[in-house]
Symmetry: C2
Subunit: 201 residues, 2 copies
């Protein structure tokens, strides 16, 4: 559904459906490795298509970026909503943070957007992110009520820490691909009630 330009549009012709699938697949791969800086020509070549075809399906490069990132946010929302029913609330929250950080580790485009790229302001993405935020808020509420995290932590804190933990580990990832687990653990320790000291506003 999200890959269709509009609900009321004529159905795509068979060759256009095929091109679109090739394009999306290539964009996923190229954006994952090269981030949002990858050029449209690069993606077109990876898909075996002409550059003009890419712009027929997505009028602006940003629309393509949004389409790809949107898919990833969808996945993360689904994962998060499932984790709401995890046996251990603390493990549910940790599972979310793990998922969010791994997404960044394996996908350069996702980090770019998570760390402030202008595309974040796109209405479609804003909506999806809002939904993610409310799911995370619920996840944190549950962990808080179970006494697994300190009282002064919000869902927004956890969302922000997602990029923070990744960026902490980022310079070392080429040498130590698992190093992010260290900083996730360290951050998680800071979220424990045992560590709590008053935070500034």
């Amino acid at each position: 559904m999200s890959t269709e330009p509009a609900d009321n549009a004529r159905p795509l012709r068979a060759d256009a459906v095929r091109s679109r699938a090739l394009l999306m697949s290539a964009a996923r791969d190229v954006f994952a490795v090269r981030g949002t800086e990858a050029s449209v020509a690069e993606i077109a070549q990876a898909a075996g298509l002409g550059k003009g075809t890419v712009f027929r399906h997505f009028a602006h490069k940003d629309d393509l970026v949004v389409a790809i990132v949107d898919e990833m946010v969808d996945d993360l929302v689904a994962t998060t909503e499932q984790l709401l029913h995890a046996d251990d609330p603390a493990e549910g929250l940790r599972g979310f943070m793990t998922a969010g950080i791994e997404l960044q580790v394996h996908n350069q485009a996702f980090c770019d957007v998570a760390a402030g790229a202008a595309v974040r302001q796109h209405p479609v993405l804003r909506g999806k992110i809002a939904r993610l935020e409310s799911a995370v808020e619920a996840l944190v509420d549950r962990a808080r009520r179970a006494g697994a995290v300190r009282d002064d932590i919000t869902g927004q804190d956890v969302m922000l820490l997602l990029t923070g933990v990744y960026q902490t580990a980022a310079p070392m990832l080429p040498e130590s691909p698992e190093i992010w687990k260290r900083y996730l653990a360290l951050t998680f320790d800071g979220l424990q009630p045992a560590a709590a000291r008053p935070l500034p506003a």
Copy 2:
């Protein structure tokens, strides 16, 4: 000294000295606001000079970036080495992290370089960063011996957390310029021995 191209070179002519000062000052201002993405033309205009003059003083744009960032690292090293003699070892460490994060908050170019820009590999910067690392290692050692931070924390951890804490707060900074203090406090809580649970390798 660091602004001279070479020790054995002829002294600069009076107008060249003046141009260089204007250039450095403009570069500081522009890089602070626009980051390393600022174009050379932009800096030349801010300095009231021609683009060619900039390239006369710095053969490559990166050389100019390095010169500016180098100054900032120098300042940070000086601050850090002073903090080694702080009354309270924990406050010394916290002072370093505060200084490092504030540098990023007030200077976009410093974040760019801290968060992985290619310029970091420049030999001059590598040397300065190495010196910073050893000062930080000493600072952490001292805090650790005083029981102010957990045993499994290294100087490298603290260096990496500098960019991590900033990047955590970054998306909120336009609305809440002081929000980084919240995440610094949260991170610092995670560094306490009271919070310690075993970290992954």
